[in-house]
């Protein structure tokens, strides 16, 4: 997670909370992927049932989308496509694989430093689109030493459109578009 900078503006307060969780640590965010509420008994002494909050599609997709970026950042830093296989599939996974092969051929790795500004647009129960204006300050690093740890980025603004599909219990990015923003 080193070098990652993500500032997120989201469509709802609830989603913002989820994303803050996602950005707050190195672990995967704790997100219940099923949309139905589940009440569970806990070991609480008060014996009060704890309700797992139901996440909307927007919240699920937003969390999965940021997890995808985390995984992608690790994959291009470590030049290991396997690190993103749980978050990307199909055309997108093939594209990342090609990107990593190019980095390997060039003898560099990529440290991803981005700030997100995205909106989730569900298109069905199993498909969603994320429109994200990304401020990019990423830079190349040595693939072995990962140096330099910091560098001045370009600050360029790029609009990404990513298409996500529900694959079983999780959302994966299947395709993307990019467009430079003036």
């Amino acid at each position: 997670m080193a070098g990652r900078l993500q500032s997120v503006s989201l469509a709802s307060v609830a989603l913002a909370i989820v994303i803050v969780t996602a950005c707050g640590g190195d672990d995967e965010p704790s997100v219940t992927s099923t949309p139905t509420p589940t009440a569970t008994r806990t070991a609480s002494t008060t014996n009060t049932p704890a309700v797992t909050p139901t996440l909307s599609i927007e919240e699920e997709v937003g969390t999965a989308y940021l997890a995808y970026w985390d995984a992608y950042a690790q994959a291009v830093l470590n030049l290991d496509t396997g690190l993103v296989e749980g978050s990307a599939a199909g055309e997108e996974l093939a594209s990342i694989r090609a990107e990593i092969e190019t980095l390997q051929a060039d003898g560099v790795a990529l440290r991803v430093v981005v700030a997100h500004d995205f909106l989730v647009v569900p298109t069905s129960e199993t498909a969603a689109t994320v429109v994200d204006e990304v401020t990019n300050n990423s830079f190349y690093v040595n693939p072995v030493t990962k140096d330099p740890p910091e560098a001045e980025g370009s600050g360029e603004l790029t609009r990404y459109t990513f298409f996500l599909e529900r694959a079983g219990e999780r959302w994966v990015v299947t395709r993307g578009l990019r467009e430079e923003v003036d």
């Binding site: 503006s9 090609a98 990423s138 990019r178």
Partner: protein, 299 residues
């Protein structure tokens, strides 16, 4: 000689290797980089057009089959035989604080964002007026070109086509009674003139061609010709002989040239359409003097 050849060959190899190296220099650690560089571009055109019948979203994708229109109502979907299926639906932005949404709303006041999805993989945002009477139609293709009013084009022909700085040429500068004066059109070779004006998605081209030259010499004589005349010192075929001085006409004769141009126009490279001829007028004050014979003594 062979040393020179090998030196030249070495230089060429160095140049080629050098150029290849400069063209394919690998990135270095610390250089700026862009994530997901090999994603395809997603920039396409969306036009939202409000008309008397409602709002239409036009999706300007080249690879899409053009011109199929959907029926209004609800989430709007179109199907084409050869092209993709596209749908538009309002985006629930809630109380979103997403920066580009705020900027989009500021740039498109009184609108709401609609998501346009096509099964060809296209996605875009359309800013639809909040007061749209119904769900917008979705049309794959360019919006129709508004009709061009020929009357408006006619009125601005000479504003669209730049005319060269023409004037009436004459020799001599001061005419003489009973001596032919030569006239010509100065500053113009008689060629067809063209101009264009673009406003939004409309480009109007106008073309004018000289159809005739009508001369009025100020003493009551006129001449209609297709000739431009010829500039001095070449002898012009446009001549006029004044029979009296311009003294009685206020000091000069008002020479006037009316050039009639046939005109036509076309819109966005389409077929040429006729316009009424246009007339451009030039004038020149031309003094004509009377030569007086003077008797002198002779020996």
């Amino acid at each position: 000689m062979s040393r020179m050849r090998s030196a030249i060959a070495g230089l060429l190899v160095a140049l080629v290797v050098g150029s290849l190296a400069s063209a394919q220099t690998p990135p270095q650690p610390g250089e700026t980089a862009s994530p997901r560089p090999n994603l395809p571009g997603g920039s396409v055109g969306i036009d939202v057009v409000s008309g008397p019948d409602g709002v239409t979203i036009y999706i300007g994708l080249i690879e899409l089959a053009p011109g199929t229109e959907s029926s209004p109502g609800g989430d709007d979907t179109i199907s084409t035989t050869d092209g993709p299926n596209c749908a538009a639906s309002p985006i629930n932005i809630g109380n979103a604080s997403v920066g580009w949404v705020r900027e989009g709303l500021a740039a498109h006041p009184d609108t709401v964002p609609w998501a346009v999805n096509c099964d060809s993989g296209y996605f875009g945002i359309a800013w639809v007026p909040t007061d749209a009477p119904a769900a917008p139609d979705v049309v794959v293709g360019e919006p129709p070109i508004p009709a061009v009013d020929p009357v408006a084009v006619q009125a601005s022909v000479l504003g669209i086509v730049p005319l060269p700085p023409m004037k009436i040429g004459a020799n001599p500068d001061v005419g003489l009674v009973a001596m032919p004066a030569w006239f010509w059109v100065d500053g113009y070779d008689g060629s067809t003139l063209r101009g264009s004006r673009t406003l939004g998605r409309i480009t109007i081209e106008v073309e004018i061609t000289p159809a005739g030259y009508h001369w009025t010499f100020g003493d009551g004589d006129v001449l209609d010709t297709f000739s431009l005349g010829r500039p001095y010192p070449i002898e012009s075929d446009l001549r006029h002989t004044y029979e009296q001085s311009s003294l009685m006409a206020g000091g000069t004769f008002g020479v006037r040239l009316d050039i009639t141009f046939n005109a036509r126009y076309r819109v966005n490279g389409g077929a040429w359409l006729p316009l009424a001829p246009v007339v451009q007028t030039y004038t020149r004050e031309y003094p004509v003097q009377q030569l007086q014979s003077v008797l002198t003594s002779s020996r």
